[in-house]
């Protein structure tokens, strides 16, 4: 029979094992290091790691190591939270965060942490907020934070405070977290055994709660990049986004990034802010208007490009062109597709240029619009020409001469939801960009750019000298390039501007279907109409 240790010996070995603490070295939180060091570190590892770490430095330029002493996850979150506050460059953010954290004392009391148990730790956390805010004036907040987090006691105090917050958050949200408990363990029990003890490293449940209680309410996002042996060319990313008071995801938040390797967390840095803004912008219409006053913004060439044309056309000279552009954009509202164009066509340069969508395609695309469009199109259909046009004209003229936005807005609003949008848009053109942004925002549906792909094909095809089917994305750069050098009232401009589904006159996005068969007839029709 094999050697069996006695119970005492087993106990002794267990004790030795429990008491064993691996030698850990390195700073608690390191200086910023180039993340290519991670690649080097894994150069001899297995291919999955090699691939993933090779891709890492392209996106994430720097990182900080955290000492692997069993607190690295907590410490990484804590440090990057403070650092993100510091990086906002806004001193008051520290004070508002302190006020918010102080108010969380209620949460702690609620789950039975009396103040005297946590105050020592909380005070350290608050003090560091204050001190960093002060250090910000001297521009040495970064050094201050690094020093503070490398002070074991201070860093542990903050970690302890965060653990208590996390524990309190989990215990006050049992419905959210009890599904993650093993074997029906209660959330209280989980917190007592896996969150609060000093030697418990953060787990996913804890991380999620900590993000909810600390990171998201501060208006920050959290990303964890998992570097493990799973399939794929890049690290897997898990992201939490903050939401504002109304439940809408905050756009372009500062983001804390952690690199997770099984059992260990480090802090990762991406060079901000380019990717963030690039992602956020196309979804928002307001910036389009802001851009009117300025030069081209390469992020959203299609809209900007159009604006460049549109400004001179709309706000300076020819009312016909105005009318044209507003009418054509509203075209799809009316079942009789050809009609809107013909009044204005003569003034609006070459007729062939004016693309009138084929009736069929209009009908097809209609259900995709705004809910209103189908309903109102029927009603409005009959008095389109008279009413719709004149009103728009009136508005436009007024805008030329200091009609207020608000007036135009309400006026047109009262009659038709649709003409409203179109009519007031030119109005806003004349106004300062910031006004536009605030004024327009509620009005314009935040339509994602998915519907962009198709436009009126005829004009375009001619323009480009070939009947290939353009996607909006493909088209825009071309378009904006042409616009830069061109004279504002050229054929191409009108075609293109009309075509542009991200057109400010076209808040509903009117994706039209291009079918080769209808191309010719569509062409012919406006020609005839306008001729007579």
């Amino acid at each position: 029979m094999a050697f069996e240790p006695s119970q005492e010996e087993m106990a002794e070995m267990q004790k030795l094992s429990n008491d064993y603490e691996p030698e850990v070295t390195g700073p608690l939180v390191s200086e910023l290091l180039p993340s290519s060091a991670i690649t080097t570190e894994y150069a001899n590892a297995d291919p999955v790691y090699q691939r993933k770490t090779a891709a890492l430095p392209h996106k994430y330029s720097h990182y900080r190591t955290c000492r692997g002493d069993g607190h690295c996850g907590w410490r990484a979150v804590a440090f990057s939270y403070y650092e993100a506050l510091y990086n906002t460059g806004n001193k008051s953010k520290f004070y508002s965060e302190e006020a918010r954290l102080r108010s969380l004392g209620n949460l702690l009391n609620q789950v039975g942490f009396p103040e005297h148990l946590y105050e020592d730790f909380a005070i350290e956390a608050f003090q560091l907020l204050q001190e960093t805010a002060v250090a910000m004036e001297n521009n040495d907040g970064g050094a201050k934070l690094l020093a503070a987090f490398n002070d074991e006691s201070l860093s542990m105090s903050i970690i302890t405070y965060l653990k208590l917050l996390t524990s309190a958050y989990i215990q006050t949200h049992p419905d959210e977290y009890s599904p993650y408990m093993n074997h029906g363990q209660s959330v209280q029990n989980y917190c007592q055994s896996s969150i609060e003890p000093v030697m418990s490293e953060i787990e996913h449940v804890g991380m999620s709660a900590l993000v909810e209680v600390l990171v998201k309410p501060a208006g920050m996002a959290m990303e964890i990049l998992y570097l493990d042996r799973s399939q794929g060319e890049e690290v897997n990313t898990y992201r939490w986004d903050p939401v504002d008071g109304t439940g809408i995801t905050v756009s372009d938040p500062s983001t804390l990034r952690l690199l997770y390797r099984p059992g260990h967390y480090d802090i990762l840095y991406k060079m901000e802010p380019l990717p963030q803004s690039a992602i956020a912008q196309p979804q928002q219409q307001p910036p389009v208007f802001v851009a009117l006053a300025n030069a081209i913004d390469s992020h959203i060439p299609q809209t900007i490009g159009f604006s460049d044309y549109a400004i001179p056309g709309l706000s300076f000279v020819s009312p016909p062109s105005l009318g044209w552009s507003s009418m054509t954009t509203s075209t799809p509202l009316y079942p009789s597709a050809q009609s809107p164009c013909y009044d204005f066509a003569p003034t609006a340069t070459p007729i062939a240029a004016i693309p009138a969508p084929a009736p069929s395609s209009n009908l097809v695309s209609m259900p995709q619009h705004h809910a209103n469009s189908s309903g109102s199109s029927a009603e409005v259909g009959s008095h389109v020409h008279t009413h719709g046009h004149s009103e728009i004209h009136a508005d436009l003229n007024a805008h030329g001469s200091t009609h207020t936005h608000a007036l135009a807005h309400s006026q047109s609003h009262s009659s038709h939801p649709h003409t409203t949008t179109y009519a007031h848009t030119p109005a806003t053109m004349a106004l300062p960009p910031d006004f536009l942004v605030s004024g327009m925002q509620p009005e314009i549906p935040q339509t994602p750019p998915v519907g962009l792909s198709l436009g009126t094909p005829s004009g375009l095809a001619i323009d480009r000298g070939g009947p290939f089917r353009p996607s909006a994305w493909e088209l825009k750069p071309n378009f904006s390039a042409a616009g830069l050098g061109g004279v504002p009232l050229q054929t191409a401009i009108f075609r293109n501007s009309h075509y542009n589904t991200a057109h400010f006159n076209n808040p509903d996005f009117q994706p039209e279907e291009w079918s080769p068969e209808t191309e010719l007839p569509v062409h012919e029709r406006p020609r005839k109409k306008s001729a007579h």
Partner: protein, 157 residues
């Protein structure tokens, strides 16, 4: 700075405990200049085999306190399943374990736990397994020995 923070907390706790000492305990510093070593005289709780004894305990607060647990040892020999029967007399269970220690725990809580263990030993988590065995199997014999040791080592009258 590390020690400053810890010292502040220790001083505060010491202040609290000396102002309102827990019943049946006397607490003082071993050496007035060192707040990390406390001497506790604990009276054996009534209706326990330790009744009448005065047990001297040494509470050592590590430099990392409160982020590492205090170390509690009986300097007076005691017959108890949770106290090691050697010259260390260490008591290490529950909240005193380094993997279960929580920084918000206070020394007062540690002392109360020790006192409760004298009333009701925890045989499931014993360091002296043979004493625990006896405690579970032959309570009379256990109490007899415990009383003898108390009389012999803890100045019971």
């Amino acid at each position: 700075m590390a020690t400053a923070g810890a010292n502040k907390r220790i001083a505060k706790e010491l202040n609290e405990i000396t102002r309102e000492p827990p019943s049946g305990m006397k607490v003082r510093l071993v050496d007035e200049s060192n707040v990390h070593k406390w001497e506790i005289i604990m009276d054996g709780p009534a209706s326990s085999p330790y009744e009448g004894g005065h047990f001297k305990l040494l509470l050592t607060l590590p430099i990392e306190y409160p982020f590492k647990p205090p170390i509690l040892s009986f300097q007076t020999k005691i017959y108890h399943p949770n106290v090691s029967n050697d010259d260390k007399g260490s008591m290490c269970l529950g909240m005193l374990r380094s993997d279960e220690w929580k920084p918000p725990n206070k020394i007062l809580a540690v002392l109360n736990m020790a006192r409760n263990l004298l009333v009701e030993p925890n045989a499931e988590d014993a360091i002296e397994t043979s004493i625990a065995e006896q405690y579970r199997g032959d309570r009379k014999a256990f109490e007899k020995t415990a009383k003898e040791w108390t009389k012999k080592y803890a100045n019971a009258k």
